[in-house]
């Protein structure tokens, strides 16, 4: 069950992450917020810092780059290339994390992300499928969001059922 307010993250295969969320807005507006650099700056930070750069060259083969200065002061950057664009419906792009350790190849640090936007009754469901090159890379991406989750004191058994669904 998808509820507005919580992103639902599942792991369909060893190399994938699937993120889903419903928004109370029609599809064309979600697309606008997703692809307009000034608007991306306002939501992509996830309350973890400030987005200092958003470049979007929205055409097949065009490049994108996002840079954020996290609250701890360190800078993180991501960049990639658009592979497929169906305006308002689907956006396929590569994504490379720029802070990779030196012994990790660019290939291992690159995912292919497919964002799809579907509208029903004026609401839009975004599904973002992150396809990593292998399980190690996939797991590293998930771990990157972890520091925040460690302090949780959640009712475990209730949550287990949800997180594994």
């Amino acid at each position: 069950m998808l509820t507005s307010g919580t992103a639902k993250v599942t792991l369909p295969t060893d190399e994938q992450i699937l993120i889903m969320r419903e928004f109370d807005a029609p599809r064309h507006l979600v697309w606008e917020a997703w692809t307009n650099p000034e608007l991306v700056k306002r939501w992509w930070h996830a309350n973890r810092g400030e987005v200092t750069l958003v470049e979007i060259d929205l055409r097949v083969g065009g490049k994108w780059r996002y840079v954020m200065v996290a609250d701890g002061g360190f800078e993180v950057g991501f960049h990639g290339e658009y592979r497929e664009i169906v305006p308002g419906e689907k956006l396929v792009s590569t994504e490379t994390y720029e802070g990779l350790p030196e012994d990790v190849s660019e290939e291992d640090g690159t995912t292919v992300n497919t964002a799809t936007f579907t509208e029903a009754d004026g609401r839009t469901t975004v599904t973002l499928l992150v396809q990593a090159p292998n399980k190690v890379s996939r797991d590293a991406i998930i771990a990157s969001g972890m520091e925040d989750g460690l302090q949780d004191a959640l009712d475990l058994l209730e949550q287990v059922a949800v997180s594994l669904r």
Binding site: T6, D24, A33, W44, A46, G145, L150, L156
Partner: protein, 116 residues
């Protein structure tokens, strides 16, 4: 926290989709193997093999009751996995909460435009 040291256990055990299905069923309560066979539509040897892996890493516990062996989820062993995905999920939730605010503004703007 680095989780590299723990990937050999529970993380790998639940990477297999069938084993996640087994955990889903067991999350609803203790079950004998026959129930799992029926729910998953797998042959019993396969289910038993998956259960063995899950038991080896401590994610599933078993106890004897009469002639039956009853399997159940060990929540404590699953906690690291739960935390692991949950932190990532929270990041996206917070990101999308911000997106909600942006969308509300776009909707308001569009509403104004239509009214003119």
């Amino acid at each position: 926290m680095a989780r590299a040291a723990t990937t050999a256990d529970a993380f790998n055990a639940v990477a297999e989709p069938r084993r996640r299905q087994i955990l889903d069923v067991l999350a609803g309560g203790e079950r004998p193997v026959n129930d799992l066979v029926a729910e998953l539509g797998l042959a019993q040897p396969q289910v038993s093999k998956h259960l063995r892996v899950l038991r080896e890493v401590g994610v599933v516990d078993v106890r004897e009751e009469g002639r039956q062996r009853l399997y159940r989820v060990n929540g404590r062993a699953l906690k690291p996995i739960h935390d692991w995905v949950k932190g990532y999920e929270r990041m996206w939730s917070e990101r999308f909460d911000q997106l909600d605010a942006v969308l509300q503004e776009l909707k308001d703007k569009e509403g104004d435009g239509n009214a003119d």
